[in-house]
């Protein structure tokens, strides 16, 4: 299956595509491009079969609907319905509320995640922390816990009767329903935060190690305290990592599926269409409405791309602005 797919790089392998350079000779050049093609073929065969074709199929399917819903699949059973599925998805209150929940989830989760991971990385980098590598390992440990297991652990820690947390709080006179209508999103943010904060902390910490010593020393010589050095010298220097972490966090947050899917087994607060991904799953595999599921998939895809693009544009504009500011400072 992986070797029969067309290769998008095929055009690139043609010997006429690139002029021969520095007397390497046409045959040598052809040999190189041949090797390049062979090394790339398995990956691009996969890219075509499990990425390009599925994305195209999703777009294609979204324009078709079943004449008799719930009967069979495949193009022979379906008719062209244009944008009808999109209209259905975008006016479906359960889909819109799912989108709303994911937006709320992102608005809470991403800033908390980035700030916590950054704060921990800066604290560890300050050189004040005892047992630093042990602390790092402890913080990183949840990353080795699979997402579904993390959800199971926290589900049990949220379940009255099973949870020592609820008992402890109860002894202190506090009753919390972790899976109530107002707490269910923060409870899921907590699971994701627990799973990923250590990982992102290590990413930031690794980036901080690359900050040149001279820059930090210069700041200290200039009289900047540790807090100031951390916030105004180190943090701006690792902005690329911060943006990358925020971006990946966003992409994964938009796919929110595993945690609500598991929690939905134990709480009526989470319906089977709680998040857009659950909506897609429900539409495709419970209601067998492939057109609707495909339209919802495309909407989610467009949102993801638009947001990622927005973040990239926004940060590059910030970069340009700070570069201009730096130039002005140098000129002054």
């Amino acid at each position: 299956m992986t070797t029969t797919a067309p290769l998008p790089a095929a055009g690139e392998r043609s010997p006429t595509a690139v002029p021969a350079k520095r007397g390497a000779g046409r045959t040598a050049r052809r040999r190189q491009l041949g090797a390049c093609g062979i090394l790339m073929t398995p990956f691009f065969a996969l890219l075509v079969t499990v990425f390009l074709i599925p994305v195209a199929t999703a777009v294609w399917l979204s324009f078709f609907g079943a004449d008799e819903p719930g009967l069979g699949f495949g193009p022979e059973r379906t008719v062209f319905v244009g944008l009808r599925s999109y209209a259905a998805v975008l006016t479906d209150p359960t889909f819109l509320s799912g989108l709303g929940i994911v937006v709320l989830y992102c608005v809470i989760y991403i800033p908390v995640m980035v700030l916590c991971a950054l704060a921990l990385a800066l604290l560890l980098d300050s050189g004040v922390v005892r047992l630093r590598s042990w602390a790092q390992l402890g913080l990183f440990l949840p990353h080795a816990v699979p997402g579904i297991i993390a959800a199971i652990i926290w589900l049990y820690l949220y379940t009255p009767g099973l949870s020592p947390v609820i008992d402890l709080l109860g002894n202190a006179g506090i009753t919390v329903d972790f899976l109530g209508i107002h707490t269910v999103v923060p409870s899921m943010v907590n699971i994701a935060l627990w799973s990923n904060v250590g990982y992102n902390m290590v990413v930031f910490y690794a980036a901080l190690q690359a900050v040149p010593h001279e820059v930090v020393e210069a700041a200290v010589v200039d009289g900047a305290g540790p807090v100031r050095t951390a916030l105004q010298v180190k943090t701006p220097l690792i902005r690329a990592s911060i943006v990358m972490v925020a971006m990946f966090t966003l992409i994964f947050a938009l796919q929110l599926f595993t945690e609500p899917m598991l929690l939905s087994q134990n709480t009526p607060m989470i319906s089977s269409r709680f998040s857009p991904s659950m909506y897609i799953y429900d539409a495709a595999f419970n209601r067998n409405n492939y057109g609707l599921a495909a339209a919802a998939s495309v909407v989610l895809l467009v949102c993801t791309i638009a947001l990622s693009y927005g973040v990239t544009r926004w940060t590059s504009r910030l970069d340009a602005r700070s570069a201009r500011a730096a130039r002005r400072e140098v000129a002054a």
Binding site: R31, G138, H143, V145, Y156, Q265, I280
Partner: protein
Amino acid sequence: MSARDIGAGGTVALRPRLLGRSTVNLVVAVSVLYTLLPVLWLVLAATKGRDALFGSDVLSLHDFAFFTNLRALFTQDGGLYGRWYLNSLLYAVLGAALGALISTACGYAFDKYRFRHKEKLFGLVLAAVMVPQTVLALPLYLMASGTGLVNTFWSVFIPVLFNPFGVYLGRIFSQGYVPDEVLEAARVDGAGELATYAKVSLRMLGPGIVTVFLFQLTGIWNNFFLPLVMLSDQHLYPVSLGLFSWNSQATVTPDYYPVVIAGSLLAVLPLILAFALLQRFWRSGLTAGAVK
């Protein structure tokens, strides 16, 4: 930055030195407790019988039922758990090994060869990193059912081989680990391009390949959505999906709780082991991804 700002920052920062030191350690210690305690709870809960579990006596050691739980785990539903575990190992280890080789070879080719539209093609690879898996699941399911692959090993195994982020990392590692001079020298010696890759470059790329392997291993071991969509035969389930299905039964039959907890604990071990053994690799991978 003006001189006035710096002076103010300096005086503020010098005063709370000692206080700051203990505050910093306290914050880090509390954070470590936050990440460790749930894992500790899992370990302790796995040693408890069902009644002790619901009695919330997790911290006491008097009802030690770990081996009873293990026996229950491996005999429940005709020993399905062992089957799931082997499936997960097969999907993850084989998939990550093959996937890492495929991705790094492609990343290496992106680094070492010049051809037209290279950066556009690389842009496509980066775009693939961003596409949500849930978007691809339905069409992948339809393709798999069209080719008769749905509910087989291959329907889960083939898609997990695809790792565009591995190509990105592979390109960075190739830049860092394989000097262009090595290729030039091999060409002067008359060695074929692929022979050079197999005999020289592959060895130099080794640590990079292990890093990508580790990342992909984690991803596949965590994989839940794809098996959920593709598989209906319980014997093909990976651990994640199996525990999910058992957990849904636990809400009806509480006897499943100790089994799910013990099963969860065992499912965590391989990744902890992999991270412990391959520590220096995941660190280098994070650095490569973060600093570039």
